[in-house]
Each structure stands twice: as C-alpha cells, then as structure tokens.
C-alpha cells in the first residue's frame, strides 16, 4: 500500500519516556504487599480513566476480599471521543502498563490480568502480545515472577467488538464474559464481585503506567506536581481546532488558557473537556483549572474554534450517544434520542421554548436516574452548551418558536 498508515501523533513531555521498565517491579517485589498499596495510597493517585477513583483505595478493597481467584483488568477500551493517549501509551510504553498490572497483581493477589483492547485498536494486539511474550521470557510474567516464590501472574489480551459503553467497568466485564455489554447494578462493585463473579480491579491504561512510575520514583516525587487533591501529572489527548494537536503531559491544575497556549488553540471559542461526556467550557471560563476538584477530565480536550456552530457540536455529540447507549435503562435509552430530536427541532426552528424547558428538565433526570455513567453524563455537554451559548442557539432566527 502506498498510502502512509504510520501513526504520527505528536507526543510531548512524557514522563514515561524517562522511566525504564523494570525498576518499579523490582522495588515492588522487595516490599511487603501491604506496603505497595500504602505507597499508592500515599501518592494519592486517582484513576486516569475519567472517574478519578483513588487507586490505592480500590486496591485495598480488592486486597481485603477473601475469594479467589482475583482478576486485574486493564481498561484499554478508550472510546471516549477525543481520547487517544492510551493508544500512544500502549504503542510506546506497553512494558510500563504491564509492569503496572504485575505490581497491582502482587498487591491485591490477582492470578490473571486481562487487557480489554477496543476493536478499533486490533492492530495493537500483536504488539501487546509480543511485549507479553517477551516479559514471560524474562521471567516477569508466568510462574514465580522475578524469582519470588509463589508469585504467579499472567496477562492475556481480549478484544472488544465496537461498543463505547464497554469502557464502563461492569459492561466491560459483561463483554469479557460473552454477554451484551450492559452495565451491571452496583453495588456489588467489581472489587467485590467482578469478572466471573470474582473480586476484580479495573484500571485505566494510564493509571497502571503511573503505578509503575510511582513504584520506581516514590510517592513524594509523584505528589510534587499537580494540586493537593489531584496529584501528579496527566496525559491529555488534544484535538480539534488547534495548531499542534497531540498527546501532551501536564501537571493537574493547569488552566485551560495555559493549555490552549501550549497547543496553539488560543483563539478557541470553547473547549470540550473530557470527551463527549464532558463539559463544554466557554472562553469566559478558560481560567478554570483542570483537576478533579475543578474541571475533571479523562484527558480529552477538543478545541472548538471561533467559527463553529455550537448546535452542530451538540448534535454531533448526541448522535454519538444515541448510537452508543446500551439501551438498557429507560432514561438513557430514550432520553438521548429525545435530546437529539430536540436539537434537530432547534435547527429547524420548530422547538418551542416550553419544550426546550422540558428537555432541560429531562437532562437532569437522565443525570440522576440513569443506571450507569453513560446516561448520567451524556447530557452534560448539551446542558453546558445551552447554558453558555444560549444566546447563540436561540439567537439564530427562527430557532425557537
């Protein structure tokens, strides 16, 4: 084939490039198990998959479970629109990720690791399997890892099949078990009853890579950047209307304006932070900080240039959710479609302000009554666009009757 398929993502300032694989695991194997979790808890590492759950706490809960076998699952389903940092990590630093999994397995006592790789990244599967095989060869996976008696752990790669909702941890488990990817009721949480009804920890690709780094460099090193509650640095996937899209690493606490300057998106009208399920932040709020306590994100930043029609943006995002909802629970199954219909009515100028009010209230119901994170967040962008760009939307002649 003559057409280039080389993936040319711009990658800037990654700590992962400076940390050699092996160091973290070696230190972990020299520690008592409990100390590994204490170290992670001390670092205040929060999940990089979006929800920001403290990793140390999650591991503690899983470690406390008596039922075995336990599973450690790496969530490589990266389906959030505008996110591609996990792809970069898996391409360049798969060793660190698998090392993070091995450390996690040591800490919680997991017998098997599974990487749930999205179908769209199927081309990465051979690469991951090579890395795994190589680690087996080095005695870093398999039986008596690193010479530690009785520490057995192996990793397999499972492929997704094209469903965004399978990034939700319980849907991911359903999918691994061969079911429709429909999120489960929680509680019980996966740490109590996950894959095959066994205690399972699900962590994002990036989270696991950071684990390896924290073991290598220590909690203090990690905490030295970021904010007090959102410690450390974070990978951002930057796309949209900016001069230099790519994967960047910034400390938590960076303002949106600072970030936009780095990537050449200073004249943006708004940024969609956190992918389709995130918030649309208007220019007036660019001084807000990116952190779990301010504007949270799983790392996706889509820059929206001055010429963009915000209604089109809302339409595109809602189309995504109408396609990707699992269709299990009423608010999300039918709500997203109603919102999309509403946006179309706005575009045609057939939406009454009364109906718009109804839709607004519906968003709130979807956010509180949906079964999983998808339905709870799918209307966030629409709401924030209504809030910040109400004038633009309603100002268009004939949009509201």
């Amino acid at each position: 084939m003559t057409v280039q398929t080389v993936i040319e993502t711009r990658v800037k300032g990654l700590t992962f490039a400076t940390i050699p694989a092996g160091e973290g695991l070696a230190k972990a194997l020299a520690m008592p198990r409990g100390d590994i979790i204490d170290l992670i808890s001390d670092s205040k590492l929060k999940g990089r998959g979006g929800a920001g759950f403290p990793t140390g706490l999650k591991w503690n809960l899983a470690a406390a479970e008596k039922r075995t076998p336990k599973y450690l699952i790496c969530n490589a389903d990266e389906g959030e629109p505008g996110t591609f940092k996990d792809r970069v990590i898996l391409t360049d630093y798969a060793d660190l990720v698998i090392e993070g999994m091995t450390i996690g397995a040591r800490a919680i006592g997991a017998a098997l690791g599974l990487i749930y790789l999205r179908a769209e990244y199927a081309y990465l599967k051979p690469h991951l399997e090579e890395v795994i095989e190589a680690r087996r060869g080095q005695g870093l996976l398999g039986k008596n890892i690193g010479g530690v008696d009785g520490f057995d752990f192996d990793v397999v790669v499972g492929l997704g099949a094209g469903a965004y909702v399978c990034g939700e941890e319980t849907a991911l488990i359903e999918s691994l078990e061969g079911f429709r990817g429909e999120p489960r009721n929680r509680p019980p949480f996966p740490v109590v009853s996950g894959f095959l009804h066994r205690p399972s920890v699900i962590n994002n690709v990036e989270t696991l890579a950071w684990v390896a780094c924290i073991l290598a460099k220590g909690a203090e090193w990690f905490k030295s950047s970021g904010t007090a509650t959102s410690t450390g640095r974070k990978l951002f996937s930057i796309s949209g209307d900016c001069a230099r899209p790519g994967v960047y690493e910034f400390p938590f606490g960076i303002t949106i304006a600072e970030l936009l300057e780095e990537v050449g998106g200073e004249n943006a009208k708004a940024v969609q932070v956190g992918g389709a399920s995130g918030r649309c932040v208007p220019r007036s709020a660019f001084s807000r900080r990116i952190a779990f306590e301010d504007v949270p994100t799983g790392g996706s930043i889509i820059v929206i240039g001055p010429g963009r029609d915000m209604l089109e943006v809302a339409h595109n995002l809602l189309e995504f959710f109408v396609d990707e909802s699992c269709g299990q629970c009423t608010p999300c199954r039918l709500g997203n479609a109603k919102l999309l219909e509403g946006v179309e009515m706005l575009m045609e100028g057939t939406c009454t302000s009364e109906y718009l009010h109804d839709l607004r209230a519906l968003c709130n119901t979807m956010q509180v009554a949906s079964k999983c994170g998808l339905g709870q967040t799918s209307s966030v962008a629409f709401c924030s666009i209504l809030d910040s760009f109400g004038d633009e939307i309603l100002g268009h002649a004939g949009r509201v009757r």
Binding site: T9, P81, A119, A122, A161, G178, A276
Partner: protein
Amino acid sequence: MALITERDRLREDVIAIAELTGFNRSSLIPILQEIKAKYGGIDSYAMQLIADVLDIHPVEVYGVATFYAFLRPETEGRFVFRLCRTLSCEFAGKDLVARQLREDLGLEFGETSPDGAFTLTWTNCLGMCDQGPAMLVNDRVYTQLTPAKVRTIVDEYRTLVEEQGVERVSERAR
C-alpha cells in the same frame, strides 16, 4: 453436497476456536469475531451452531451479535470502510471525505457492494482524533484523509480485489 461441507467446515472452525478459548460463554465474542472475519457475516446456521457448541440459546447469540458494531450478523464486504463521524473528525472535514468515499465506492453509508467486495459505514471515534479525518479499513487505520487520498486508497483496494477476488484471507493474527 456442497451445503453439507460448508456447514461442516463452519463447525470445525467454531470448535477449533472454542478449543483455544474454552467451551464457555466467555468464548462467544472471540468466536463471533473469528467467524465474522472469515465469513464476513454470521448467518442463521452459524449462530445456532455457536449456540449449540457453547450450550447457550441462538437468540442470545443474536442479541450479542447485534449489540456490537463490529459483529453485525449481516454479511459485509471483504473490505469494510469505517469512517469516523465524531466531533474531531467532523471538524477536520469528514464530510468531504465521506462524499468522496460514496462516489468512489459507489455506495451509500450502510451499504455493501453486490459483489461482496466493499462495505461503507460510519463509526464512532477511532482514537485518531489528532489526525482526522480517520478511517478504518478492516483492521488498518488511515488518517489525515483527503479526497485525493481516498481515491488512491479505494483504487488500491479495488486492485487487490481484482487480483485476489472477494474470498477472505483472515488477516488477524490468531
């Protein structure tokens, strides 16, 4: 009879995969993936066969296959063109690319060419947002698409089909 051998071949395939992954429900998706990759679709008999081998109900196989975008039971072309339609790619100009694809493949989105060579469909974010518009052809990714690039890509796949026909060679490493 040709029919019988076809079915026997299918059974062998299903069992061969199940032997690798286990005769349990967790094998359902891997089996569907392989069958889909090899045959382009999952027909009524295949679903019942898989259900039989895994001891589940055919309707459950149907439910799973229709849930996942990459496991649609309908027979798709040997090469499936999936163009990303999500926000970043939209910003990057996916509409122009889509128009070109429609023209060059002679297909609307959601259609498969009668000779079984191509399917054109939309997909959601492929994780190539910094290099949009992006598209997947089977497992292969194409980025920074332009109408001109699309033309070359389609031409190349056409040549491939002319040389090799529409018979599938499983491209995925087993």
